[in-house]
C-alpha cells in the first residue's frame, strides 16, 4: 500500500473541505472572477482525488502518481548526495579546516577552484587543437617542422637535452612549432589555424567570464551572515555539535573545529576591544607604509640595474663571464623573493591590524614586489624575440634564394618547366629560428623551475625543519619546539601569490605551448595532495587563528589583475608581431589574425565580410568589450540583490502578518504565553523592570549600522549595557487584560525586519 493511513485521512479531510467550498461558494463575499477560479480548482481536485479513495476509476492512477512522486523525490535526493560526493577533496579540506582554521582552508579551496578552471582550459586546448593535429594532421617526420634537424638527431633523446625542452620535446605537439599551417586538415576539413587562434583567445575570454562570475557570486554571500552579530557565543555554545556524526575521526575533526571557531571568535572580540589611540596608530601606519614604499622602490631600481647589466653581459664573450655574472638576474630575484616578505611582515607589526586585514596588506605588497619579477622576465623574453626575428629574416632570404637556385638549375638541366619539388629529406632542410618556440620553451622552463623550487621549499623549509626540531630536541640546550626555530606556520600569502602568478604564466604561455596547460593540471593535482599532507604533518596552526573573510574576492581581484596583465603581451604579439615563416599554424602569413580574415573571405558569404571590416575598428571593439564585461558583472551581482530583496520582503510580510494577528485575534498569540506559564514553576516569573520606549528607535539606528563597537561596551561594562542593545521589548509577564493600543506608525515598521517572528509570540508592547 503506497498510501499510508495518515495520508488517506488528510486527503479525505481536504476533499471534504473542497466539497463544502463548492456548495457554499455562492454565499461568499468575493468577486465573480475569484469565484469562478476557485470553483474550477475545487472541481478539478474533487474529480481527481475522489478516484483515489476508491470511489471511482481513478484510484490506481492516483496511487501510481503518488508512487512516482515519491520515487522522484528519492531520486532527486540521491542525485544531490551524489553531486556533493563528487566534489573532490572535500574531506581533506575539511580536515585542514578543522585543525588550522578557515583562512588556511581558503587557500586550498582556491587551489581546487583553480584546478577546475584549468581542467576546462585543458579541455579546450586538448580537444580542439592538440587532438585534431595528432589524429588528422601529418605524422612526425613528414615535414621539416615536425622533424628533429639532422645535426641535432644524435642528442635528441638525451635526458639533459630533454630537460631543457630541446630535442624531441621541441618538435612535438607540446609546442607551437609542430602545428602545420594547412588551411583544412583531414576528412572533416577541420580548420586548424583558425581553431588555434580562437582557442588561444577563447582561453582568456572564458577565464575572464569565470573570474567575474565567481566574484559576483562571492559578493552576494556577504549579505546573508550580516545578522550573526548577535548571540555569537551563545550559538556556538548551544548549537555547534553536529549530532549526526557517528565516525570517531569525524568527531575528532569536529572537536578541533569547535575549538578553532571559539579561538577565532575570541580573536575577533579582542580586536573589537582594543584601546584606540588614533594618532599614534595613524602615525605608525604612515611610517610603515613609507618604509615599505622605500623598500619596493629600492628593489625596483635594483632589478632595473641588474637587467641593464645583463644586457651588457649578453653582448660580451660568454666564456669570460663568471657564474655569478651569467645568472645575476635570477640570483637577485631569488634573493629579493626570500628577504623582502619577512621584512614586510616585520614592518607590518607596527601597523597593528586585525590579522585578516594584515594578510591583505601583506598580499598586496608582495604582489607589487613580484610584479618586478614579471617585468624582467618579459623584458628578457622580448629581447630574445627581437633577436630571433632578425636571424629569421636572413635565413628566410637564404632559403628562398636556395630554392630559386634549385629551380633554375633543374629547368636548365632538364629543359622543362614542370619542376618537381626538391627531394630533400625533412631533417636536412634549413630551418628558421622559430621565435614562438623559444618563447614557449621559456615559459615552460620557468613553470617547471617554479614547481621544483616550491616543492623543494616545502620539503626543506617545512618537513626537514619539523624533523630536525622534533628529533634534535632531545639533545639541544634550549627547547627547539617552543623557541627558535619551532615548527613552521602555513604561509598563506606566499602560497596564494605563487598560485596566482603561476596561473598568469600559464595564461601567457598557453598560446605558444599548448602542452603547458596539461603540465599545469598535473602540477595542481600533485600540489593539492602534497600540500595537504605537508600542512597536516609539518605545520602548526597560527598563534592567532582568524576567520577568513566571508568572500574570496580579494584573491579573485588579484587573479583578475594578473589576467589582464597576461592578456596584454599575447594580444600585442597577435596583433603586431609577424609569425615565423616555417613553423606553426600561421606560418607564411603576414599577421596572425590574417587567418580570421581569410576564413571570412573564403568561407562565409560576402556581406559578412563587409560587416566585419566595419566592425573591426579598434575604437569600436574596445568600448564594446568593456561594456559587455561591465554588463555581465552587474547582471550577476543583481541576481544576488534580488534574492536579498525577496528575503527582506518575506520578513516584512511575516512581521505584518503577526501584527495583524495580534490585533485581530489575541487568543492565538497568547496561547503560547499561557503554555509557557503552565510549564514553568512560579518563581521564574519575576517581572523585569519596564523598558522606556524611546530607547528602541535609537538602538535600532545603532544596531542598524552593524557596528561591532557596540559589543565591546557591552562586554566591558557589565550586563546593564547589554539591555540597551536588545531590540524587542521584554515580556510583560503579567497577564494581558487590555487590548493592545493603537499601532505606532512607521517606527513600528522600522523594527519590522529584525524581530519578525518573535513579534507574534504574545509580545504585546507596553501600553501607550
Amino acid at each position: 500500500e503506497s498510501l499510508s493511513e495518515g495520508e488517506i485521512a488528510a486527503l479525505k479531510e481536504q476533499l471534504e473541505e473542497k466539497k463544502k467550498l463548492i456548495v457554499t461558494l455562492r454565499n461568499k463575499p468575493w468577486r465573480m472572477k475569484k469565484r469562478l477560479v476557485l470553483l474550477k480548482e475545487a472541481q478539478k481536485f474533487v474529480e481527481e482525488f475522489e478516484g483515489a479513495l476508491g470511489k471511482g476509476k481513478g484510484k490506481k492512477l492516483y496511487a501510481f502518481k503518488v508512487m512516482m512522486t515519491k520515487k522522484l523525490i528519492k531520486f532527486k535526493r540521491d542525485f544531490e548526495n551524489f553531486k556533493t560526493a563528487c566534489i573532490p577533496w572535500e574531506r581533506k579540506i575539511k580536515d585542514v579546516e578543522s585543525h588550522f582554521g578557515s583562512s588556511v582552508a581558503s587557500y586550498f579551496i582556491f587551489l581546487r577552484w583553480m584546478y577546475g578552471l584549468n581542467m576546462v582550459l585543458f579541455g579546450f586546448m586538448f580537444g580542439l587543437v592538440v587532438l585534431p593535429e595528432i589524429l588528422m594532421g601529418l605524422p612526425y617526420g613528414s615535414i621539416p617542422r615536425k622533424t628533429v634537424p639532422r645535426e641535432e638527431q644524435d642528442t635528441a633523446m638525451d635526458f639533459s637535452v630533454l630537460n631543457d625542452f630541446e630535442g624531441f620535446c621541441k618538435y612535438s605537439f607540446l609546442f607551437y612549432g609542430y602545428y602545420n599551417n594547412d588551411r583544412t586538415i583531414g576528412v572533416l576539413k577541420f580548420r586548424l589555424p583558425l581553431s588555434y587562434l580562437l582557442v588561444g583567445v577563447g582561453i582568456f575570454g572564458y577565464s575572464l567570464m569565470v573570474v567575474i562570475r565567481t566574484m559576483a557570486r562571492n559578493s552576494n554571500e556577504g549579505g546573508d551572515g550580516a545578522e550573526e552579530g548577535e548571540f555569537t557565543f551563545s550559538w556556538k555554545m548551544f548549537t555547534s555539535w553536529d549530532y549526526l556524526i557517528g565516525n570517531p575521526e569525524t568527531a575528532d575533526n569536529k572537536f578541533a573545529s569547535i575549538t578553532t571557531s571559539f579561538k577565532e571568535s575570541i580573536v575577533d572580540e579582542q580586536e573589537n576591544q582594543k584601546d584606540e589611540n588614533i594618532h599614534l596608530r595613524r602615525f605608525l601606519r604612515v611610517l610603515a607604509n613609507f618604509l615599505i614604499t622605500c623598500t619596493l622602490g629600492g628593489s625596483g631600481y635594483l632589478i632595473y640595474f641588474v637587467v641593464k647589466r645583463s644586457q651588457d653581459f649578453a653582448k660580451m664573450e660568454q666564456d669570460k663571464l663568471s657564474w655569478l655574472e651569467k645568472n645575476e638576474v635570477e640570483f637577485v630575484m631569488s634573493l629579493l623573493g626570500l628577504v623582502c616578505p619577512p621584512l614586510f611582515e616585520t614592518i607590518a607589526e607596527l601597523e597593528d591590524y586585525h590579522p585578516r586585514i594584515a594578510l591583505k596588506w601583506q598580499l598586496g605588497r608582495i604582489f607589487a614586489l613580484f610584479l618586478g619579477n614579471l617585468y624582467t622576465f618579459l623584458f628578457a623574453l622580448f629581447d630574445e624575440v627581437n633577436e630571433k626575428l632578425e636571424t629569421e629574416k636572413s635565413i628566410r632570404n637564404a632559403t628562398i634564394w636556395a630554392l630559386n637556385q634549385y629551380y633554375a638549375n633543374y629547368s636548365s638541366y632538364f629543359n622543362t618547366t614542370d619542376v618537381p619539388p626538391p627531394n630533400v629529406s625533412p631533417a636536412d632542410v634549413i630551418r628558421g629560428p622559430c621565435w614562438e618556440n623559444a618563447v614557449g620553451i621559456g615559459f615552460v622552463k620557468l613553470v617547471v623551475s617554479d614547481i621544483q623550487v616550491s616543492y623543494l621549499t616545502i620539503l626543506v623549509g617545512d618537513f626537514l625543519r619539523a624533523v630536525i626540531v622534533r628529533f634534535l630536541n632531545y639533545c639541544w640546550c634550549w627547547d627547539l619546539e617552543a623557541g627558535f626555530p619551532s615548527y613552521g606556520e602555513f604561509d598563506i600569502s606566499g602560497n596564494v601569490l605563487g598560485l596566482v602568478f603561476n596561473q598568469g604564466m600559464i595564461w601567457m604561455g598557453a598560446f605558444y605551448a599548448p602542452g603547458l596547460v596539461g603540465l599545469n593540471i598535473l602540477r595542481l593535482l600533485s600540489s593539492m595532495y602534497y600540500q595537504c599532507w605537508a600542512v597536516m604533518c609539518c605545520n602548526v596552526p597560527h598563534e592567532r587563528v582568524f576567520k577568513a573573510s566571508r568572500s574570496n574576492n580579494f584573491y579573485m581581484g588579484l587573479l583578475l589583475l594578473v589576467l589582464f596583465l597576461s592578456l596584454l603581451p599575447v594580444v600585442y604579439a597577435i596583433m603586431t608581431l609577424s609569425p615565423s615563416f616555417d613553423c606553426g599554424p600561421f606560418s607564411g602569413q603576414d599577421k596572425i589574425y590574417d587567418v580570421v580574415m581569410e576564413t571570412i573571405e573564403q568561407d562565409l558569404p560576402s556581406f559578412i565580410a563587409n560587416i566585419f571590416t566595419y566592425a573591426t575598428n579598434p575604437g569600436l571593439i574596445l568600448p564594446a568589450v568593456l561594456l559587455m564585461l561591465a554588463l555581465y558583472y552587474l547582471n550577476a551581482v543583481s541576481k544576488g540583490y534580488k534574492q536579498a530583496n525577496m528575503d527582506l520582503k518575506k520578513k516584512m510580510k511575516m512581521a505584518r502578518d503577526e501584527e495583524k494577528n495580534r490585533r485581530n485575534n489575541k487568543d492565538s498569540t497568547n496561547q503560547v504565553m499561557i503554555d509557557l506559564e503552565d510549564l514553568l514553576p512560579k518563581k521564574s516569573l519575576i517581572p523585569p523592570p519596564i523598558e522606556e520606549e524611546p530607547t528602541p528607535p535609537g538602538v535600532v539606528n545603532a544596531k542598524g549600522s552593524k557596528s561591532p563597537k557596540m559589543k565591546p561596551g557591552a562586554a566591558a561594562k557589565g550586563v546593564n549595557l547589554q539591555k540597551d542593545v536588545s531590540l524587542a521589548a521584554p515580556n510583560p509577564r503579567a497577564p494581558v487584560t487590555y487590548a493592545p493600543g493603537p499601532r505606532r506608525g512607521p517606527a513600528g515598521n522600522a523594527r519590522g525586519p529584525q524581530p519578525g517572528p518573535s513579534r507574534g509570540r504574545g509580545r504585546a508592547g507596553p501600553p501607550r
Partner: protein
C-alpha cells in the same frame, strides 16, 4: 524483522501511542523495529548500555545527558512507551499543524517543548536556570583542554551576557528561547522519516 515486530506490538497499543504522541502508524512500526534492534537483551526494555552502543551517542560530548533524558527519575530501564514518549519531542512538525489554532493541550513536539528538552540537557540541577558553572561544564566537555580555563571562563561569562536580560547571571528558559529564536529548531530537532 518487520513481521516479528508487528506481532509483538498490538494494534491497541499502537492506537494509544498514536494518541499520546501523534506519530503515524508506519512511523510507530519503524520506531518499534529500531527499538527491538537496540534491545540486545530481548527483554522489551532498554538499558543505558544499549544506548551507549549507538556510535553517534558514544562520541557525543552530551551523549550521557541525552541518554539520561530517556530514563525517568531513578529508573534504569525504559520500555517502548517511555521510549516513544521521549522521541515524541522529535516528531516533525507538519505544515497543517502550524496553521491550525493550538489544541487545548500543546502537543509534545511543539517548538517550546523541543526547546524545553534541549534546555533540560544543560540545566542539570533542574532549577530552571543555566548557571555559569553548568556552562563551564558543557564547555569543558566540548572543547577539553585545548583552551585555557581563563578563556573558558570568559566565554561562559560572555554567553551569559549575551543571553541574560533580567540580570540574574544565569539563563532562564525564556532567555534560552530568545537566544534560539532565529535557529530553525523545528527542522533541526526532528526525526527525518524518509517515506
Amino acid at each position: 524483522m518487520g513481521s516479528r515486530a508487528s506481532t509483538l506490538l498490538r494494534d491497541e497499543e499502537i492506537e494509544e501511542i498514536k494518541k499520546e504522541t501523534g506519530f503515524s502508524h508506519s512511523q510507530i512500526t519503524r520506531l518499534y523495529s529500531r527499538f527491538t534492534s537496540l534491545d540486545k537483551g530481548e527483554n522489551g526494555t532498554l538499558s543505558r548500555e544499549d544506548f551507549q552502543r549507538i556510535p553517534e551517542l558514544a562520541i557525543n560530548p552530551l551523549g550521557d545527558r541525552i541518554i539520561n533524558a530517556f530514563f525517568p527519575e531513578g529508573e534504569d530501564q525504559v520500555n517502548f512507551r517511555g521510549f516513544m514518549r521521549t522521541l515524541a519531542h522529535f516528531r516533525p512538525i507538519e505544515d497543517n499543524e502550524k496553521s491550525k489554532n493550538a489544541a487545548v493541550s500543546e502537543p509534545l513536539n511543539s517548538r517550546t517543548n523541543k526547546l524545553m528538552f534541549a534546555f533540560r540537557l544543560y540545566d542539570l540541577d533542574r532549577d530552571d536556570k543555566i548557571s555559569r558553572d553548568e556552562l563551564l561544564q558543557v564547555l569543558r566537555m566540548m572543547v577539553g583542554v585545548n583552551i585555557s580555563d581563563d578563556q573558558l571562563g570568559s566565554i561562559a561569562d560572555r554567553t551569559i551576557q549575551e543571553a541574560d536580560t533580567n540580570g540574574d547571571n544565569s539563563i532562564s528558559f525564556n532567555e534560552f528561547i530568545k537566544v534560539l529564536e532565529k535557529v530553525d529548531v523545528e527542522q533541526k530537532m526532528s526525526i527525518r522519516f524518509l517515506h
